[in-house]
Symmetry: C2
Subunit: 199 residues, 2 copies
């Protein structure tokens, strides 16, 4: 890592593709359930190449999660950018369900599959998942506060509680999907949620 990168033998593989493969494997098996041997196979690389390009397992996991957030989890960010509160909430549900039922990746949030219960060694990974879940919630809260200021959300409502409520339902949907619920079933669940929310 000390060179200027303009000399020496250049890297012989697609770094993005390799990280994508690692991300998908971590997503499916979690941090602890994914071994370096699994990763070498899925990424098509030797251990040394992985360590040189991405660091150790923890750093690789970090990078994989970052990639997940930037490429896969933008549906939530996009939903919060909708102009009205109703559109925001509807988009949150629609996008989440579309995300959870997209073929080619596990039907769960990586933040739940990554690590919930885990060994002491994997605690950093678990804390990272927790941190991201809280960040997502904070982004939602920010949007709901804005809606409250604009009058779309009653001033009588405790935004913190309301945020946690919404966040809970969405996390619950992820568990539902992991349980094997179909897209139609998830939509039915969301419809009831939306009705109860007044939409």
């Amino acid at each position: 890592m000390k060179g200027n990168g303009k000399t020496g033998r250049p890297i012989g593989f697609d770094k993005d593709a390799a990280l994508e493969a690692a991300m998908l494997l971590f997503w499916e098996r979690g941090f602890e359930g994914t071994s370096m041997a699994d990763l070498t196979q899925a990424m098509g690389l030797n251990p040394s190449s992985i360590y040189a390009a991405f660091g150790d397992k923890n750093e690789l996991f970090h990078l994989a999660v970052r990639r997940y957030m930037e490429i896969r989890a933008q549906y939530a960010v996009k939903a919060l950018e909708e102009p009205t509160l109703e559109k925001v909430v509807r988009a949150l549900f629609d996008n989440t369900i579309a995300f959870l039922t997209t073929p080619g990746h596990p039907p769960t949030c990586m933040t739940l599959a990554g690590a919930v219960g885990c060994s002491v060694d994997a605690k950093p990974a678990r804390d990272l998942m927790k941190e991201i879940r809280k960040q997502n919630e904070a982004a939602m809260r920010k949007r709901l506060l804005k809606a409250q200021r604009s009058g779309e959300l009653s001033k009588d409502i405790n935004v913190n509680d309301y945020t946690r409520y919404l966040s809970s339902i969405l996390a619950g949907l992820s568990i539902q999907a992991a349980n094997g619920s179909t897209k139609a079933e998830l939509k039915g669940t969301a419809q009831i949620a939306l009705r109860h929310l007044g939409y």
Copy 2:
């Protein structure tokens, strides 16, 4: 396992206490995050004693989960036994929150901490968790169907969707608690949920 158990050296430890220790460890660290070495230490037993008394790691996990369901997770069963639908729903939230905030054990459902994402070796454990989550949901559905027959729940409501909706919120609360939410925060969340449910 061939003897009649009436002869030979008797067991020298409290089987229930040992299983309780194993259950707590699995609850906190999940199936994969808990090693046999961890278990021998927590249970205060040698490997041979564990294998003789409980079978291998998979069987021990099964027994631990069974103990969890019988001793720790009865709050959900009890809630469903309430006489009216409103009392059932209120008890589901109250009991769940009390459960999640009880000191002495992790602030999550074992069915979520046990295994969500995991290696292929741990798939049986993950499937067991999924199976139990679905069983819990089936019990809720049964109670809601009864409420619909008695007229407490509108016939226009799709009970399957309604069950999944309730189940989702409760699972979401468990994630909330794992995120570090306090009892007061969980109660605030539940209050909004109850209001939206019409209570």
